[in-house]
Symmetry: C2
């Protein structure tokens, strides 16, 4: 199986997507094809040997072949005819944040009938908007940290005691996120967060909470789980620190936890993933406090695809690619149309 890695995108996480793609190049056994989406919305086919960060920061990629979406794939347009981009079986959506995770890329690939690994439209919207993630978690019976929503036009009154954590509603990767320890730091933190979204999510910051990350996916009746990681970190991974995460390729140690907790974490992962995330390799970040598992975040396109958590990352992708959700084919038969046209609306009620 050959993968076309789609990366970049109009997103605050544009650069980390590039880093993530370069990291994947190192770990993927079968050489992928690289498709870069620049911030303007143009696709480029990047030759393997040019997959270096300065190729993008310098704008050098603009000399590469432009690609256009076409039914079933991408094409290079020539003066007289177009040529299909050959040589891949499945697209891997590696556009972190923004277009990659808000449903745009899912919709484009669905619309053009291109097979892809990544969250579908519903899964994207549910995980991208942190408030919808909370509502979804409640709907499936998974605990989360209590929260408050604040719009930029709202009065800046906080429902919780300090410290609190302030997050733009629709970003990943800790961009614009702050821990606020006292009221005098609140305005600055909110100003920062409102730079990225008109709404912010506010949660009490739970000191000393245990954190566990699990990645995985569903293959029909079967589940694949990664090792469970207990991220060792300072108080809080800011953007710079977490950013480095996207370049990770070295595997991590399994967390040293009781079997019962491991099994509970995996069961909670299953509830979250259910069928909504079919087709995606996701990482769930959980909190564990007072004997209770809480969902902190769903990463539907984790940094470097959380490759470092799997023993056989290539095998996982390969198996997932053969279990992608199918779209329904709908062909209208136009049976109703004449019937309707001959009737007048209000009279018929």
């Amino acid at each position: 199986m050959t993968t076309a890695i789609l990366f970049g995108g109009a997103s605050y996480e544009h650069e980390i997507s590039i880093v993530s793609a370069i990291a994947l190049k190192k770990v993927m056994k079968k050489r992928p094809i690289f498709i870069f989406l620049d911030a303007k919305g143009d696709f480029y086919h990047i030759p393997d040997e040019q997959m270096k960060s300065d190729h993008f920061s310098s704008g050098g990629y603009k000399k590469n072949d432009r690609l256009h979406l076409a039914r079933g794939g991408f094409e290079k347009r020539g003066l007289l005819k177009s040529k299909k981009l050959e040589g891949f079986d499945v697209v891997l959506n590696l556009i972190h944040g923004g277009q990659g995770e808000d449903g745009t890329i899912a919709a484009l690939l669905d619309f053009y009938d291109i097979a892809y690994i990544g969250p579908r439209k519903e899964a994207s919207v549910i995980s991208y908007n942190k408030w919808l993630t909370k509502l979804y978690a409640e709907g499936i019976g998974v605990e989360t940290v209590e929260y408050q929503l604040l719009h930029m036009d709202d009065k800046r009154e906080i429902d919780f005691g300090y410290p609190i954590i302030v997050k733009p509603l629709r970003l990943g990767s800790s961009i614009g996120v702050s821990i606020v320890k006292s009221e005098e730091d609140l305005d600055f933190a909110l100003d920062v967060a409102f730079e990225f979204d008109e709404e912010v999510l506010i949660e009490p910051f739970i000191e000393g909470v245990e954190e566990y990350n699990v990645a995985g996916c569903r293959l029909g009746e079967k589940w694949i789980f990664s090792r469970i990681e207990a991220p060792k970190k300072s108080e809080f991974l800011d953007f710079d620190q977490k950013y480095l995460d996207f370049s990770r390729t070295e595997s991590v140690q399994e967390a040293d936890i009781p079997d019962s907790l491991e099994s509970d974490l995996k069961d909670t992962f299953k509830k979250v993933y259910d069928k909504t995330f079919d087709g995606a390799l996701i990482r769930c970040d959980f909190f564990f406090a007072s004997g209770e598992i809480m969902l902190n975040e769903i990463n539907p396109i984790p940094g470097s695809m959380a490759n470092y958590l799997f023993d056989d990352f290539n095998g996982v992708l390969e198996r997932l690619a053969s279990h992608l959700p199918k779209q329904r084919t709908i062909r209208p038969d136009y049976a109703y149309i004449d019937k309707v046209q001959s009737a007048k609306g209000p009279k018929a009620r």
Copy 2:
């Protein structure tokens, strides 16, 4: 302002979208441009005089000019160069159900920077999936009818007494919906609903409930509301009946209700619309029973845009078109990239 009406789409509601577009042709003062999306996913520019239902059922539209999505609009591709489709200011997304309401069209138009009237991605996903609508309503403090979700693999056990109403989770227009009066009719109703979706939503059927429909939109600080309609109907509008709704162009009477109820209905509409539905002209269908307003359904692209509920439908569209949400322009500065590339992931943690 000239509108390009986008209709058709790969959806069970493909035909009613055609009917809806033909109805709008009658009520729009300034002649719109018509763009048809066929079920295969190809766009066509339909000349005004060919906007008749048999033009589509016969496949005659295939002789019209093909259109392709391009930055800022649609283009006709010629042998040597492409020509932009001129003559419209805003697209009106009139693709009912399927691609029009599940977020696909919103994502395409967002991606290609085309201004449009219609629900954005989040709004689409929230209103298209009836379970997410329930979770959303709960999140904003709006009542709905109690419900049960059933997957096609689940045991067919119902939590409520009969009669119940069975709905495919992700369709509009009453397609696949049944009222089930006793247990012996359950299997058939579920079989029908599962034809359209793997999941169904089951609600107790409330006899004699009052129904009120309100359409409207937000224009910055201002709101536009339609007349409130109390749909007179038989026990239940099935697809055939409701289908006729899409061809409506004659205005309806204002419901005869107390001012306090009118004001409560409008307040509930505001809560639902909030900012999530900015850019769309939606119709909310409410139930009223025991003094309580319940949200039954959000129609983010109502049949024939609920034109028959407005005194000045053309004026509403015009004003809405000048209040469309703006997308953020994100341009990466590549400040982090070299910093990250020079560091090794795991070491840096």
